[in-house]
Each structure stands twice: as C-alpha cells, then as structure tokens.
Subunit: 364 residues, 2 copies
C-alpha cells in the first residue's frame, strides 16, 4: 500500500531534471503572457499561480500548460483582457462571469469575492462561468486559509474522459474536488482529487513513455481492462468506488457547471483539441469562516491533534509513513522553493519555442 500512496508517475522524469529558481520562471511566464496580450498585473497574477502549482509538485498543471494557454490565446479561444465581473449576487453568494479570461484570473477573483462575503455572512458560495482551465484545484481551495477559513473548490474538467457508470460514452470529466482546512503548527490539510482511479494526465504520461497502463485505470468499449497505451485515446477512465465516483463527477459537474450556466456533459469543449473555441468552464468556490462555528485558534489546535493522530497511528506491515492529504505537496514546496523547480528537457524546449514565437527573452 505505501508504494501506491507515494507513487507519482512524474517522479522518475522530474527527479534528475535541472532546476530553475521560482522567481526566474515566474518572470518568464509573465513576459510570455504580456506578449500574448495580457495586462501586466494580470500576467503577474497568472504567472505566480502557475509557479505555485509547480512549487507544490503539480507538474501536469503548472508551467507545462503555458504553451497550450498561449496557443489558445493566439487562436482566440481565450480572451487576454477579460472584464471579469459579478453578474448576480446575494449576501452570501455571487455568480461571476469570467468573460473568457484565463481561469486563474477568474478563480482568484471568485475566491477573493467568497472570502470577503464569508467575513460577514459566515459562509459564501461563488460560482463562475465563462472561465477556463485554472491549474490545480488546491490553489483556490487554499486561498481562504490565510483568513482562518476552510475552502472548498469544485470544477468541471477541461475534457471528458469518464462515462456514466455502465456506459461507453465519455460524458463526464475528471471533475476535481478540493478541500483545504487550516491547522496551527502543522501544514494545512489539503485534499485535491479527481473522482477517477487515475487522472488522465497519468494516462498521457504512460502514452508518451509507451508503458502499459495498469489494470484498474481504464477499460475499453468492450468493458475489458485497457492496458495498451496506443489505445488509450479510445479508453474510458474508471471512477473511484465504481458508481460512487460517477456520482461525484456528475454532482461536481452540475454544481460547478450547470448551476452557473457553464458547460457540462456533451457541451464541454475539449480544451486541448478545440483551441479557438470558448470553453465556458465552470467552477465553484466556497469559503467557510471557522470563527462562525468555533474560536479559530482552538479549532486549528484540534486540527493539529487530528493530523498527529493520523500520522502516529499504527501502520500496516511495510508502510513507512502515514501521510495527510496535501502533506507531500507541502514538502515538495519546501524543497522546490529552496532548490528550484525541475525543468526537464522537453519542457524547457517547449518554453524556448514559445519564447521564439513571441519574440521575448528566453528562460534564464
């Protein structure tokens, strides 16, 4: 079991890669986004969030996506200068229209709105439509933490790889759920999960490396395990807990998509394949003020105690350590903030190509 806990398909690729300092990477991303038409302050916000994803070890959701974002900006699939605004609100809710801006800008705006409203109301739920891919879910669930708030985040995935349980049609995405809970001395607990056994990014990596796909990740349209990486594009991801993961993905899609008049089901635009078309991605962020329920300091000490109880629990044979959700990302962040972000050769080359296309100074 410990092997599966610690398993990270990217590790082998990334562990020996040269490192780049986070500020240098952020400066490069900012240059690139400015050259693609973003306002300078917006470009900085997006760059910092993308680098934060890489710092936390979300190697499939950070700077690796920059070339795709740039292609979508160029093709008209993303609006570089959006007018992000609240189109409907109540004391504890808001609906944000992202005006087809980069998801990071839209969801930072939505999270800040939720935090402000929760300060007065105790809780706030902010939905967003006309948004785009926003990087890892954890980024936004964590924004309320500094305000002694719990964060919950839901999103509609940027393409469909999951069928309803029993079906062969990919009508659902790997719609992520993230929840972040503040602690006192311990790092916060941060759950960030797709409702599938494996995220599609892990499958894509197996395809690139021409490695067999483990049994249990995917099935084919015949219902049998699909392990051939060459056939993965035709495969169906398996949900966690069978019909339960299907239910989670469906509910996340309705709450983050349909409720906000954002895309869901057959209307989801493939973010990778349809680069000129607005994705109308939907998200939702909830901020819960701890003080509305309990003194924050006492609550955070209890979370510390819960963390230590889990970590200190008796272990199964062969298990070296019991992890809390988000703890490995926290350790990666400490390492990468000090030693730099791994920059494998193919990634560096794709960023060099982007720099040439945009006519900007390359990554230092």
């Amino acid at each position: 079991m410990s092997g599966r806990i610690a398993s990270d398909a990217k590790t082998a690729n990334v562990a020996d890669a040269p490192r780049i300092a986070a500020p240098a990477l952020a400066a490069f991303i900012k240059r690139a986004l400015e050259a693609a038409g973003l306002r300078s302050d917006d470009a900085k916000v997006v760059a910092d969030l993308m680098v934060e994803a890489d710092l936390r070890g979300s190697d499939t959701h950070g700077v690796i996506r920059l070339p795709l974002y740039l292609r979508r900006l160029k093709a008209g699939g993303i609006n570089p200068r959006p007018d992000i605004r609240i189109v409907q609100e109540r004391p504890a809710t808001a609906l944000v229209d992202g005006d087809n801006g980069i998801g990071h800008l839209v969801m930072r705006f939505a999270a800040m709105t939720a935090i402000e409203k929760a300060k007065g109301a105790g809780v706030a739920w902010v939905g967003a439509r006309m948004s785009n891919h926003a990087g890892p879910a954890a980024l936004y669930a964590m924004m309320p933490l500094a305000h002694d708030m719990i964060g919950l985040y839901l999103a509609v995935g940027s393409n469909n790889h999951l069928p309803p349980w029993g079906s062969t049609e990919n009508l659902l995405g790997t719609n992520p759920i993230a929840i972040a809970v503040p602690a006192e001395e311990e790092p916060p607990i941060v759950l960030d999960m797709a409702p599938t056994v494996a995220a599609f990014g892990k499958v894509r990596l197996k395809m690139q490396r021409r490695e067999e796909i483990p049994v249990g990740w995917m099935i084919g349209r015949d219902g049998k395990p699909l392990t051939d990486p060459k056939r993965a594009e035709q495969g169906l991801l398996l949900p966690i807990g069978d019909y339960k993961g299907y239910g989670l993905s469906l509910m996340t899609g309705l709450l983050a998509g349909t409720l906000n008049q954002a895309a869901f089901g057959r209307d989801v635009v493939d973010f990778v394949k349809e680069q000129g078309k607005a994705a109308n991605t939907g998200h939702a962020i909830v901020a819960v003020s701890v003080e509305a329920f309990a003194p924050a300091a006492a609550f955070k000490r209890q979370v510390d105690a819960a963390i230590r109880a889990m970590r200190g629990a008796q272990r199964l044979p062969g298990v070296e350590r019991i992890w809390l959700p988000g703890e490995q990302s926290h350790l990666k962040r400490q390492d990468r903030a000090q030693n730099g972000i791994p920059m494998p050769k193919p990634l560096r080359e794709s960023l060099e190509t982007a720099a040439r296309d945009l006519g900007i100074a390359p990554l230092a």
Copy 2:
C-alpha cells in the same frame, strides 16, 4: 458491471418478506417513542423520517434501528426531551446544539434553519453538535429540494471502521456525504455515499449470514484481504480510491465533527456498544438557493436534460440500464408507498419484543 450497480445485499432477504403499510409502521414507531419519553410531536417527526428511510429502501437505516434507539433512550445515552437550539449564528451560518436528542430531530431543525437562512443569503451552512444517529444522509440533503434548493449533508459516522490509508487503526468512520439536486419532470438526483467500498452494514449482513466477505471490501491487520465473516469485527474497511476515500472521510469528519466541537477520531463513541454515553455526533447541512445563480425552472429543465443524457448514453455489453444516483431509491419508494414496507420475520420479532418491553400495542 450492471450486477454491481444493482447489487443490494439486502434484496434477497427483503424481497419475499411480508409488507406493512407505511402509516401503520409510522404509528407504531410514534407509540414506541412516546412510551420512551419523547414529546408527541417530536415522536411523530422521528417516526415519519424513519419510515421515509424504509420507503426509500434504506433497510439498514430505518425502523431496523428503532430497538437500538430505544435501548439508548432507556440507558440515558439519548435525551428524550432535548432543548435543540442555535448557539451561534451569522447571516448564512448557524451552530446547533442538539442537547443529545435523537439525530432526526436535530438534523430536521438544522435543515430547516439552513433553508430559512438560504432564502435570504443565497446559501447557508448549519453545523450540529451533541446530536445522534439520524438515519440515512439522503433524508436531510433532500429537505431543501422543495424550496428549489440544492442540499449537501455531511456526518460523522456512529462508529469507526476505517483507518487512515496505510494504518491498522480504525480512527475514521464511514462518514457519509449526500448531495441532492432538484429536477423538473425527473426525480431529483440524490447521491448518498460512504467513502468506503462497502458500508459496514453490508459486512454485518455477511456476518449474520456467515457468507464470505468479497475481496476488496476489507483487509486484516496484516494488510491481506479479510474474507472470513467470523473475523470481520477485527477487520479494516477499504476506502474508495485508496487514499482518496481516506481523504474524504477525514475531511467530512473535520467539517461535520471538529468544526462543530462534536466527536471525531478517537473521541467517537460507538453508538452500538456504548449505549449509556452521549455520542456527541456532528453533522453539517448546506442549502444552496438555485435562484441565487439561475432561474430555477430553467436550471431544473437542464438537470432533466442531464439525467436523460446519462440514462440514454451508449451502454457497455451486458448493461441493461444506466442509473442516476438516487433513482433506485425513488423507484423503491413508489413501490413501497403502494405495496407496503417489507417486514422480515427477525425485524418484526425485534419490534414485538420492543412493544412488550414498553407495554404498548404491537405492530398491527
């Protein structure tokens, strides 16, 4: 796959059982609870909710629990005449102290509070402490539906059967999550799930029938599959999606328990084994007003369309029907409202014993 979807460990036991009309069962439960000290109107509320659980097919969470509730009332583990009240509130939040009343009373109060607050604020989050087992999660997630609201419900399970991922210590419960979304012509979508592959009730049934426990439900403290029903009490349930189900259970426990100063982790009182001790069960209910985001009629029509898209999707070989979450419960409710609630002999006998102990008229 269809077999697993439709699988219901109780079906065989229940399908051939004699039926009893719902009103007669509700009247009996009300008599029993009144005899155990509840106020008449409270007894009616609990009886109606317990029968609603049985109508929806929650055979492990309805009237079958009555004898246990009665034993706990007699032993002083539940307060028959609680003063359920809001102890802290904000415009969109409330913390409810259940005064150790039956969970159904506490959570109905909490759900009504959430609905009232969400009418003005757009969303409301109500936590409860000093509560008890409240029956199936779906009951409370569904209460907002009639008000064109989405309901979310979280609870700390009434005993611990799940270890942190990699551990042998059952520090976590099968903490349920329920989400209910209203539709127009279709039945609402109602997800009600534990974060484990199998709920402990299903294991208990295998124990009673001395049937092997399927591989994948449980492991022993050696990390190997546990299939011997005689050893099940020492077993560890497996979470869905490995560490993901662990993360869901942990987060549910913190949000429904710790945030409300209710029991969590090692403090959870075993509801079955410690009958004289207050359980301090924690729950949380969230009501989201659809109108705060979209016209309710339009939203519900879109939910209908989503339901029909899922149901009409291409099927895997051998799959007869694609189900929506809660759809089978809806069909059971239609059947049982018309034809009565199954009453297997052991259940009837346990209710007859309860009637004799309380000196009340037996089940008609």
